[in-house]
């Protein structure tokens, strides 16, 4: 008779899942490891000089200033907007919500391009309105460029939070004699807090890691300094140190977020679905609300499109269509395998985490997210060090480029797949096994077909990120290879606004197409109609006797 003291036998996960997960774990650890290796590759005297350089503090302060300003501006835009488009009686909420999500399709460097193209002596503003706006460079230009395309993250999260909130709480508070303002402060705001902090983190990480917009605005933060070190001064040890500091900043932001949102109980305690809140009439504030909405839409969407249109018109005569087509195709050829590989790696990671919950599987999951949070400039630099040190033939190869894309964006595919697998549950697989199917066949027949949608959604997310990606492409691209993003950046950087316009427009077009696709695929979740008995007359056995 067998007897054990453990908690049953814990089946071991199949190797087919473990191997890809290990690739993910190693791949996402590589950057930190190689940055460390490279950073300590200097003599001690030089090391202390580098680490305690006055300039580091200056860069840190600049970075923090930028983060704070962007978050403040984003909140000022997104919080009222989210409230307006969920709680007020403003019209066309659906269309406006879509418009407010659309700036996601405008990459930061395109937004920076638009702002730069607007201002200055040759700018759009002077050409059309005769107003010569001061050059928008430095802190304020960078703040504006980053805010105008990152506020949708905040808006979407806050909108979801507003919609998920139980209006009964507010009604109860008001019936207890609190004013609308007091209710907002004491009931609504605490409930928005997690969404607010989560989106601050996302936007903060973007700002810390952003490179394109900041480089074009010539504002000195870590990423810009790394770029100039790497490209100009070619001091790679210092570049490695700056990258490590950037990484440390990222990790502390992640830790801070966990600390801030821990131990908060905000789940609805009651049962049943939340009712829709009764819309608050805007009354005489209505015109002001519309002005606000119009202003935001104009600044975030109208401005880049107008400026692009302007430069496009000027540049159309000398337009090199063949070159644009080649570049677009080249971008596709890299983004497609990257997206496919990312999904192929994401599936085993999610399966391991959900079906074999262990400490090490949870760690791999975390590492995948760390890969995503690692500033891509730091990631790219680490890949250069890695390639030069271990496999020089990989340096500036497509393989390394795609590998870097996959490791930094794979986490985007985890979410949709995880959600779908949670919705599907394990019951149906067990049912299939009780009908004689092996575990592999049960998964392939019962679960995999229903993962198609979320896998496509995840793949699209990765794809769009690769199309927009700048630093990784900039540093790792093989000689002679250029993506759309690279063309926009290089040309804008040299003031060639006219030549950059078609590439920037293509990216926006590409991206907005994919944003639409993603919304379509993501909103449906798992390909699973609810199998609970719902509508329709119930013809039970008793009434259906022949």
């Amino acid at each position: 008779m067998r007897s054990r003291t453990g908690a049953g036998r814990r089946p071991r996960p199949p190797l087919l899942l473990v191997l890809p997960a290990l690739v993910v774990a190693i791949g996402t650890c590589l950057p930190a490891a190689y940055l460390l290796l490279r950073a300590f590759d200097a003599d001690p005297a030089q090391l202390t000089e580098i680490v305690f350089r006055q300039r580091n503090l200056y860069l840190l302060l600049n970075t923090l200033k930028l983060v704070a300003l962007v978050l403040a501006l984003d909140t000022l835009i997104a919080l009222p907007m989210a409230w307006l488009l969920t709680r007020s009686d403003i019209r066309a909420k659906g269309l406006l919500s879509y418009l407010m999500a659309l700036p996601l399709a405008v990459p930061g460097y395109v937004m920076a391009y638009a702002l730069l193209g607007l201002s200055g002596y040759y700018g759009f503003a002077r050409h059309w309105f005769g107003v010569s706006l001061p050059g928008m460079q430095g802190l304020w230009g960078a703040t504006l460029a980053l805010s105008l395309y990152t506020f949708p993250y905040l808006f979407l999260n806050l909108r979801a939070a507003f919609m998920g909130m139980d209006p009964a709480l507010e009604e109860t508070a008001r019936s207890l004699g609190k004013s609308r303002l007091a209710v907002f402060r004491h009931v609504v705001l605490p409930q928005l807090w997690p969404a607010l902090v989560a989106s601050w983190l996302i936007v903060g990480l973007y700002v810390i890691g952003d490179f394109g917009a900041i480089a074009l605005m010539r504002y000195e933060v870590f990423s810009y300094a790394i770029y100039t070190q790497y490209v100009g001064a070619f001091d790679r040890t210092y570049a490695a140190w700056l990258s490590l500091m950037l990484l440390a900043l990222t990790v502390s932001a992640l830790i801070a977020q966990r600390a801030v949102t821990r131990n908060r109980r905000l789940a609805r305690t009651g049962t049943g679905a939340a009712r829709r809140a009764r819309p608050v009439p805007l009354g005489r504030w209505r015109p002001l609300a519309w002005i606000f909405v119009a202003l935001v839409a104009l600044a975030s969407l109208g401005l880049p499109l107008m400026v692009l249109g302007h430069w496009m018109r000027l540049g159309l005569p000398q337009m090199d269509w063949a070159q644009l087509g080649r570049t677009a195709l080249g971008t596709l050829m890299v983004a497609t395998p990257a997206a496919l590989t990312a999904v192929a790696l994401a599936l085993p990671v999610v399966l391991l985490v959900l079906r074999w919950p262990r400490r090490w599987t949870a760690l791999i999951d975390r590492l995948a997210y760390l890969g995503y949070a690692t500033p891509s400039l730091a990631f790219a630099l680490a890949m250069v060090f890695f390639a030069l040190q271990t496999a020089p033939f990989l340096y500036q190869s497509f393989a390394l480029l795609i590998f870097a894309y996959v490791m930094s964006f794979m986490a985007l595919a985890l979410g949709p797949i995880r959600l779908a697998l949670l919705q599907i549950g394990t019951r149906q697989e067990e049912a299939a096994r009780a009908l004689g199917a092996s575990p592999a066949r049960a998964f392939a027949r019962v679960v995999l077909p229903r993962l198609r949608r979320p896998m496509v959604a995840g793949g699209l997310l990765v794809f769009i990120m690769v199309v927009k990606e700048l630093p990784i492409t900039y540093i790792l691209a093989p000689t002679g290879y250029g993506t759309l993003a690279l063309n926009v950046f290089a040309r804008t950087n040299e003031g060639m606004m006219r030549e950059a316009a078609p590439y920037a427009l293509s990216i926006i077009l590409f991206s907005s197409l994919f944003v639409g696709l993603i919304l379509r695929y993501e909103s449906r979740g798992a390909d699973a109609p609810d199998e609970r008995p719902t509508t329709g007359p119930d013809t039970g056995p008793s009434t259906r006797q022949a």
């Binding site: 008779m1 067998r2 007897s3 054990r4 003291t5 453990g6 908690a7 049953g8 036998r9 019951r427 149906q428 067990e430 049912a431 299939a432 096994r433 009780a434 009908l435 004689g436 199917a437 092996s438 575990p439 049960a442 027949r445 019962v446 077909p449 229903r450 390909d527 699973a528 109609p529 609810d530 199998e531 609970r532 008995p533 719902t534 329709g536 007359p537 119930d538 013809t539 039970g540 056995p541 008793s542 259906r544 006797q545 022949a546």
Partner: protein, 341 residues
């Protein structure tokens, strides 16, 4: 000589955390071919864990599962020949009814499909998708899917809990007829005593991972082993008394016993084993009615008999008001209970 049991559990134990409480402890029972057994108990008593160990989705820490006398403890679920129908039916939503039914079928031909669909009275539903079926229909598809794989034994997890109350008793009768016609053995889990008693041949009552009593439904109801079983399967009155063989002296007078006992005992006396009548004189009354529950075809009275509340079910007779002084007469017999820990 008795035939080999279809299923035997031998000292099954399972705990989820080392050192934690046992979900199932030292559980043993046999299931005869074509028999229907109900595992019943309050939630968290280990009945679903037991079912999952039989199916092969959980491994016991110790003990064995024998299918037709052969050890199946380490055999993977798909090789046991045991079907399982889940509480939510777990139909494959991306497959039609026909694809669902044929998923594990031994014979994947049209004849087999129509035979299994007509078995559950769903002819012509083959091309529908599960989300276009009612709850009762989905359940029957799940059953047909299990039958088509020709298992030796089918496990049902809370099979009727997702059906409307109105549909439940009809579905119960229909499915019991089906199961009996196919001759497949069944173990099913429920927390509904009425379901257990009406659906099963034998009932196994579990509590805290242990088997308290197993036996034919009527026997477990009439002769519960202890106060928990008596209270869980139906309502009962617990009376302290002194037994002297075939009878027992209680506050309600002498009560005949279903099982001989002697000395101080606690007995279970079902509410339907008593009749109630208005006391002509106060001196005759044993108590006063403190509560009346009118349930349509019968009534339940709560009678305060010198500090003990006694329940009485009455089908006929005058409807008595609250506060009335009444007499009680014992018409059935009491069951002496094992002392409880």
């Amino acid at each position: 000589m008795t035939p080999t049991p279809l299923l035997s559990l031998r000292n099954l134990s399972r705990r989820y955390q080392p050192g934690g409480p046992a979900a199932v402890q030292d559980l043993s029972f046999d299931l005869a071919p074509a028999e229907i057994l109900a595992l019943i108990g309050p939630s968290g008593c280990g009945k679903t864990t037991t079912l999952r160990m039989i199916a092969g989705f959980e491994e016991p820490d110790s003990g064995r599962v024998l299918v037709e006398g052969a050890d199946a403890t380490r055999i993977p679920a798909e090789k046991r020949g045991i079907g399982m129908v889940f509480q939510d039916y777990a139909l494959f939503p991306h497959m039609t009814v026909a694809q669902n039914v044929l998923f594990g079928a031994r014979q994947k031909d049209a004849a087999s499909l129509s035979r299994h669909l007509s078995l559950v009275d769903l002819q012509g539903f083959g091309d529908r998708y599960p989300d276009h079926l009612s709850g009762g229909q989905q359940q029957r598809v799940a059953l047909a899917r299990s039958f088509a794989a020709q298992p030796r034994l089918i496990l049902l997890d809370e099979p009727f809990s997702n059906l409307d109350a109105a549909l439940r008793s009809a579905a119960r009768r229909e499915i019991r007829r089906l199961l009996k016609a196919t001759g497949i053995g069944v173990v099913f889990v429920t927390h509904d005593q009425e379901e257990a008693l009406s659906f099963a041949d034998r009932v196994a009552v579990m509590r805290d991972g242990r088997l308290l009593q197993i036996g034919p439904a009527a026997e477990v109801y009439d002769r519960p082993a202890d106060a928990f079983v008596a209270g869980f399967l139906g309502r009962t009155n617990l009376l302290e008394g002194v037994a002297d063989g075939a009878e027992c002296a209680t506050p309600l007078g002498r009560v005949p016993l279903a099982q001989r006992a002697s000395g101080p005992v606690r007995i279970s006396l079902r509410p339907e084993s008593l009749t109630i009548s208005l006391a002509a004189r106060d001196a005759d009354a044993v108590g006063r009615i403190t509560g009346v529950e009118f349930k349509g075809h019968d009534m339940t009275y709560w009678v305060d008999c010198g500090g003990t509340d006694i329940q009485v079910d009455a089908m006929h007779g005058p409807r008595l008001p609250e506060g009335a002084s009444v007499m009680l007469h014992v018409t059935g017999s009491g069951m002496p209970l094992a002392p409880q820990d």
